[in-house]
Symmetry: C2
């Protein structure tokens, strides 16, 4: 297994830092190759601008078209190219981050904004009567597995089906489905640690044990059963789920899981 | 009306730039005061780190506690303090941005990560048997109105109730409810422009007309009816919605609207 860990926390001596370190040692000890993109340590630039596209930047700037041309001609900024190469090298990708304001920290969003360019992560494949690009089940990163490892300050009940923040699966859907599954990554169920600010030295061993167990079963775990776009479930090009396919009472984001 | 526009797009000559400019001129012409935080033009730093907290930064860094202490003692970085002052000045806040990977660009996420500090936007008010802090209907920014103005590359059907991306209201829920309503902002229905990449000089006047109409009715528009946290709808401290309060068949994020 070749695992890329994308890590987004400002403090190495944090719970997130400890979970990242544990992933590195656990996977290496099990004989796997591991690379880490520690975004804070790298001083990762989080902001898309003309500098990303080198000589392919147009004026006015067109982020979609310019990023596609820069990808095609190899003129993307070197830091972006390096991350794309790591993604192509990896068969498994772990994202380690704290939930800040119900989603990822800006530095990680800026990693996706800059690295997931046109012609690499989107704008791939043909559009026809039966196909709307290669995405949601197909795409550049097809065959890879992805996993979110997330720490959350609040209690688990606040993220339960009736919890005030909304269900954790729905909060993570735009990341798991909209970002990871879009270019073809199979997404494993997330590893979520609640009450993260209250986990001390005494509480850490239980968290560590659960995380190690997840890490050692990455190859056998079943991905979230997101529906594939181009295989009959959706009207094309409207991309609305065909009537009657969903389990009774299912609505919202949950429509896009086939079981 | 005192309106703050927070604008997040790298290209001034873009649809987002035009919508921001139109908001400024339309509101000023109607006699309102307008201030703009143009994040790209300001070179906004999107990344939370120890520099945010000045002499209040601890080692190891504790982003929650340190930001609260820095807020209390006036040692937050000057760029953060300036944005907090603008928020307190405003009675209406407009966020202008393109939907990138189903949420806001990193530079805007980094504005929330850095400006919405502990003791300012969260960690406000007492916790007791009947109250779980002042949030979701109470808080520092109570009495203000907020509005997302969002451009979207895809077709409207892709964001419809059965659309493959998920319903637009659900995609925006973590921002509208989780970020804006949390510190007390009343959130107006979003202004969403679909097929944004295909809007040319010929198509722009229709979009502009719809946007002007929304701008001139900001004071009378009805906010999204999110439920208040501390007024009987939720179990405390579990913060789960009490049984039977929701309209039949309602689930997920939709539970947290009272009508």
């Amino acid at each position: 297994m070749k695992t890329l860990i994308v890590h987004a926390h400002p403090e190495p001596r944090s719970l997130n830092g400890a979970l990242k370190d544990l992933a590195v040692t656990t996977l290496r000890k099990a004989g796997h190759e591991v690379r880490v993109s520690d975004l804070y340590a790298m001083g990762w630039n989080a902001v898309v601008d003309a500098g990303d596209f080198g000589s392919s930047a147009s004026s006015p700037l067109l982020a979609v078209a310019d990023s596609g041309r820069a990808f095609d001609t190899g003129t993307l900024a070197p830091d972006i190219r390096a991350e794309q190469e790591k993604l192509l090298w990896a068969d498994t990708i772990i994202f380690q981050f704290p939930l800040w304001w119900y989603t990822m920290p800006a530095i990680l969003k800026g990693w996706f904004d800059r690295v997931f360019t046109y012609h690499f992560a989107y704008g791939v494949g043909e559009h026809s009567d039966v196909k709307y690009g290669e995405r949601f089940g197909e795409g550049t990163l097809m065959g890879r597995r992805g996993l979110l490892s997330v720490t959350v300050g609040g209690r688990e009940s606040h993220y339960a089906p009736r919890g005030i923040n909304g269900p954790i699966d729905d909060l993570l859907f735009p990341i798991q489905h909209g970002i990871l599954y879009y270019p073809g990554i199979d997404v494993l169920p997330p590893f979520v640690v609640y009450n993260a600010d209250r986990i001390d030295d005494e509480g850490f061993p239980d968290v560590a044990k659960a995380w190690e167990q997840r890490l050692l079963t990455l190859e056998s775990a079943e991905p979230i059963p997101f529906r594939r776009q181009n295989f009959g479930d959706y009207e094309i090009p409207a991309l609305e789920l065909k009537e009657g396919l969903e389990p009774a009472g299912r609505s919202g984001f949950g429509l896009h899981l086939w079981s």
